[in-house]
Symmetry: C2
Subunit: 350 residues, 2 copies
Amino acid sequence: MNQMAGKQSVCFGRPVEMIGYAGVVGKKEGEGPLGKYMDLVVEDPLFGQKNWEESESQFVKTACEIALRKAKRKKEEVRMVFCGDLLGQMIASSFGLKQLDIPFYGIYGACSSSGPALSAAAMALGGGYADTALAACSSHFASAEKEFRFPLGYGNQRPWSATRTVTGAGAFVLGNKKAGKVVVRGFTTGKIKDYGIQDPFNMGACMAPAAADTICQSLEDFCKSACDFDRIVTGDLGAVGQKLLFSLLQDNHVDITKNHMDCGMQIYEEEQQDTHAGGSGCAASAVVLSGTILPKLASGEWKRGLFVPTGALLSQISSNQGRNIPSIAHAVWLEHAEGLQTGANQAERM
Amino acid sequence: MNQMAGKQSVCFGRPVEMIGYAGVVGKKEGEGPLGKYMDLVVEDPLFGQKNWEESESQFVKTACEIALRKAKRKKEEVRMVFCGDLLGQMIASSFGLKQLDIPFYGIYGACSSSGPALSAAAMALGGGYADTALAACSSHFASAEKEFRFPLGYGNQRPWSATRTVTGAGAFVLGNKKAGKVVVRGFTTGKIKDYGIQDPFNMGACMAPAAADTICQSLEDFCKSACDFDRIVTGDLGAVGQKLLFSLLQDNHVDITKNHMDCGMQIYEEEQQDTHAGGSGCAASAVVLSGTILPKLASGEWKRGLFVPTGALLSQISSNQGRNIPSIAHAVWLEHAEGLQTGANQAERM
C-alpha cells in the first residue's frame, strides 16, 4: 500500500522503477565537465528549427525518444507524459510532444519541473493508472533570455549572482520491468515559499529557502537524517544559493555540507566557461539527473539520493510589477534497486 | 484496484468523492444566466488588488477557501493542490495559492486546466497519496486580454467567432467523507491534437477536434455510448465549435446532439451581454461545473456526466510566429453517488 508519510510526503508501497532516461544538451553544456555523460550534444542552437522555441521543443521531443529507446518502450506504450518548461503557456512542451501523440499533462514548477513531473509520473505508476509513464522537461538559453530578460543582441551584462539557463532537456521513463536498477521510493511535494526577495538576477537566494524547507520536511517525513543519503541534490541554487541553503539548514540543525551537490554548479566549468553562479533552467537538474545521478545510483556507487530541484515562480509581468519572487522545491527519493531485491524491503517491493 | 481502461483512460477501483466545490465570478458573469448559482460574485474587477494578475490570484484563493469551507476541511488538511491558469508562468496560481501553504502542483492545460487538475487530484486520492486534495483553476478577462490579445484601451473589435474570457475561478475538494453525493469514476487523459488551424479568434474551431477525439476515446475506453451520459459537457467551444464538434462526432457515428452542453455557451446571455460565441478561459468550465453540473449530479437530477474541458495550446509568441494552434481536451467521468451506495457497485466502492 502507498502511504502518506508525515506532513507532506508519500512512500510508495512498491517502489516505482526508473527504466530509461536521457539527457540532450546544447554545445556549451556539451563542452562542460558533464558533456561526456550526455546522450546527445546538439551543436546547432536552433536544432535545425526556425526559432528558439521550436528548437527547445526539438530538445524535449528528442530526449523523450532517446529515453524510450533506452527503456525499450514504444511511444504507443506510454499511458501518460508529464512535461513542463519555462516558456509562457509551456509551448516548448506542447509543440514538442504533440508529435509523440501521448496522453499529456502539462506540469509547471519553473526550474523545479523535473521534480513534480517525476513525482506525478511515479504516482501514476504506483496507483495502477499507467504501466509506462514519461516525465520530461526542457529549457533553452535563448528562449529563456527572450522570455524573461533582454534580447540577446543587447549584450546585457549580468552580475556574478546570475545563472545561465541550460539549453537541453531530460526525459525519464517509469515502468514495470522488474529489472530496473533505480527506483523512486517516495517524494515530498513542495510548498510555495516567499521570503520577500525581488532580485531576478539572484535566483539562488530566492530558491534557497524553498530548498531548505523541503529538505527539512523530507527528512522528517521519511524519518531519515541527512547522512542517510549519499547525496542531497538541489537543482540550480548556484554558488550563492548554496551558501544560503547551508546556513538555513544549520539553523534547523541539519548539516548537508558533506553530501550536498547542486546540479547548477556541476554543469559548467565556471572559470573557463564564464557562467557566473552556475546553470539554471528546468534542464539543469534534469540532465544532471540523467547524466550522473541516475547512473551512479544504477551502478550502486550511490545507494540513496534525495533529488530536490528548485524553481522560482516569477514571470516577466510579476517582475515588472515589482513583486516578490516566490519559489518551490520538490523532493524525489531515489534508491539503488539491488538493496531492495535482497534486503529487508523485499516484501514491500512485491 | 484502479484499472487502466482501454487505450488512454482510468477507472477508479473505489470512486473518488467530491466533497466540496465553489465558483467565484466577476460582475459580468454574475449578471449572466448562471450568476445565481455562483458562490460569490465580485463586482470589483480588481478584487481590491493593484493589478489584473493579482486580482485573478485573489479569485482562485477565494474559490479554494470557499470550497474548503463547504467541504468542512481546513487548509492544513489538504495534502496537495493541483492548480492552473492561462498566464505566463502561471502566476495567478502561484501568487494566489502561496498564502494557503498547501503542497502545490502547477497544472497546465490552457482552458482545459480544470480537467487535468481534477484527474490528477483524483489520482492522488485513488492511489492513497492524499486523503484530501484540491483541484482549482482561474482566468480573468483583463489579464487574458493583456497576455494574449490587445490592451483593453485599444478597443479592438472582435469577430463573431471570438469568445470572451470568463473572470472567475473554480475549486474542487476531493476527499474521503463516505457521504459525498458526487464521485469521480474515471478519466481520460487528452492527447495534443493539431489540425492546422491558426486563427486565435476562432478557438472553438481549434479545440473541437481535440474534444471529438477525447469523447470518442472515452466512450470506447469506458464501454459506454453517448446516451449513457445525461450530459456530455465540453468546456468552451462556443457556438462555432459546437457545430464542428457535432459534425466531427457524426463522422465517427457518435451523436451527442441531444445531450451535449458547452459551458462557454451557458455562462452568458449572448444577445444581451454582447459576448459573441460564448465564454472561454479556465474558469468557464470550472464555474459551470461547480455552479450547475455538480449540483445536478448531487441531487440525482442527472445520474452520470462526462465533463470534457477543452484548451488551446497557444502563446502570444507561437501565435506571432504564425504557428498552428494545437489543442487538448481531458474527460472526467462524474456520477451521482447514490447509485453507487445501493447498486451493483457497492463492493467496488469499498
